[in-house]
Structures are given as C-alpha cells and as structure tokens.
C-alpha cells in the first residue's frame, strides 16, 4: 500500500504553491490546505486522487488510505475543484499557466520566449 508515498507527493507538490500557510497534508486524516492557490491545489488534488486510485487495491482496510480519500473529497468540494483537467469554475481572470507547457509558462513569467540550445552527435 503506497498511500504514504501519495501523501508525500501531495505535500511536496503543494509546498511550491503555498504562501506561508501551514502544511495541509492529508496525513491519516482530513487536513486543511493552508494558503494554497486554488487552481494549483485542484491540480495537486487530482494528482493525489489519481495516486490513491492507483494504490487502492493494495490499501483496502487501511485507515490512512480511507482518511486520505475522504480528505481529498472534502478539499475538492471545499475548493470547487472539477474532476476533469480544468481548475475550479473560474469567474474571471486569465487561465492558470499550464505547468507542463514550458514555453508558455516561461513567456508568461519573463515576458519573452525562452532561449534554446542545440547539440548533435552523428557519423563516425
């Protein structure tokens, strides 16, 4: 049962989103996510939920696992997170940068496209 690993991944992924809030880890019981941006939290919660689903078979009957699953449920409701890939229903404001789109994220952060380098190995 890898629930502790899921917990650790969730904590590390929300650490970078926090602004000084207390770690709202879902260790063994419904935690509270302190001061975390909602869209980033929703994405972290979806990853967390996916992780718990993947380890569900081997965690049957494990209290930490069931607490985590319920804790995730509560937080997703609390933060109005959707189950699919988008963040909470947003009333206004630009969409959150996709953490897996390096160029878009870099451009948004620096106001210019990233620099690139080229390397090659060929022939004999």
């Amino acid at each position: 049962c890898k629930i502790l690993r899921c917990n650790a991944e969730y904590v590390s992924s929300t650490l970078s989103l926090r602004r000084g809030g207390s770690p709202g880890a879902l260790r063994g019981g419904g935690g509270r996510a302190g001061g975390v941006g909602s869209s980033g939290l929703c994405r972290a919660l979806r990853s967390y939920a996916l992780c718990t689903r993947r380890t569900a078979r081997t965690c049957r009957g494990d209290l930490a696992f069931h607490s985590a699953v319920h804790g995730i449920e509560d937080l997703m409701i609390q933060h109005n997170c959707s189950r699919s890939g988008s963040g909470p229903a947003r009333s206004s404001g630009p969409p959150a940068p996709d953490p897996c789109d390096y160029e878009g994220r870099f451009s948004r952060l620096h106001g210019r496209p990233p620099g690139f380098l080229h390397c090659a190995s060929f022939g004999d």
Binding site: S47, P99, Y102, P114, H118, C119, S121, F122
Partner: protein, 239 residues
Amino acid sequence: PHVRSFHHHFHTCRVQGAWPLLDNDFLFVQATSSPVAWGANATTTRKLTIIFKNMQECIDQKVYQAEVDNLPAAFEDGSINGGDRPGGSSLSIQTADPGSHVQIQAAYIGTTIIIRQTAGQLSFSIKVAEEVARAFSAEQDLQLCVGGCPPSQRLSRSERNRRGAITIDTARQLCKEGLPVEDAYFHSCVFDVLISGDPNFTVAAQTALEDARAFLPDLEKLHLFPSDAGVPLASAAFP
C-alpha cells in the same frame, strides 16, 4: 562520432563505450559507441539511452532506448506519452519514417529530440531550453553536449589520416552534392566516407546539418569552419 556541443564546439571523437551526452535534473542521455572496424580509432554510435526524469504534475519517469536496427517509436514500457498524470500528454513520441527516424517532443521542458539511423549508425539531435540545459550540479560535469569531447577522446589530425577504400576526390564529390558549403559538416562527411568506404555516410552529415538548421536559434552559427577547434580537416588531412 562527430559532436556539436551547445557552445558550437565541433569535435570528432573516439568515446568508445558508453558516454553521457546530457546529464541534468530533467534529462539523461547516453551514447554507446564502438569501432567502425576492428582496431580502428574511429567509432560510431550503436545505442542511445534517454531518461526523462519524472516531473510532479507532468510525467512519470520514462526511458527511451534505441539500437542500430531497432528504433522503436515508443518508450521502454511500450507507452507513447508521459503517463496518466494530468500533464502526461506533454511528452510524446512519433516517427516520420519507421525504423529510420524518431522524434520525441518534451513540451514540459521545452525540448525536442530527433534520433536517426543512417549507414548503420545512430545520430542524435536536440533542441533544449537554455534553462533546462543549465540545470545540473558540479558533479554532473561530464556532458559531451556541454563541453564537447574530453581532449583525450578527440581524434588527432594524424589519427584521422587513415585511408579507406574510396579516394579523397571521390569522397569530396559525393559529399559536395548534398553539402555545398565546405564547413565542418562537409569535412565530417568526407572523413566518414573515407574511413568507412560507405557512400551512405553522406546522409548522416546532411541530416545533421538539416537538424541544426531547424534547431539553432541563430542561423549565423549554422556553418562552423575548420578554424574552430577540433573540426575534422578531412580534406586537408588527406593531401
């Protein structure tokens, strides 16, 4: 193989065995080379291993391996993307010519990799975000893409001075067809054709130049000339 580094070093190297082309926080690329003929100094890349390290919300760790005559258009686990995570589609693999060409797009780190097989050797070409290429610690100081080949691994002029079955004039004519500018790629082509005696080696240098044209941000740097350190002066080395 001939190695063009991030900083436009252009070396012809021995690097027999497994050597790291890249080793940073996001990527590990290793090339395994062996002599083109028994006892020859010139070697050619027969195997490439690429590890895409896992990234929290984007991808699971993925390993790609290619060998001569086995260029799969899938990662080692059979998948063709970064896995089930929300950003899994930011890593993808496809081919334009099964068995000869594979392109891996790693959008989560602003990286594109092309692997080719020509004339019984593997070629590797990468375009990577500068910030990603620089993300390594002092212990990861051996990366052929960063510093070129160590001096002990570069073929000296005399070592390059080995005659093959084809005359230098024939080699130059064959290379000139696809490489009209007599730059480092042209000299590499002449060297390869001379050493291997195989005219198909012209394709390796031509496609390497095409990839450089596609990947270099500054085309001023596309053609490197023998005045740059370590360029194989094949034509000059064979008077």
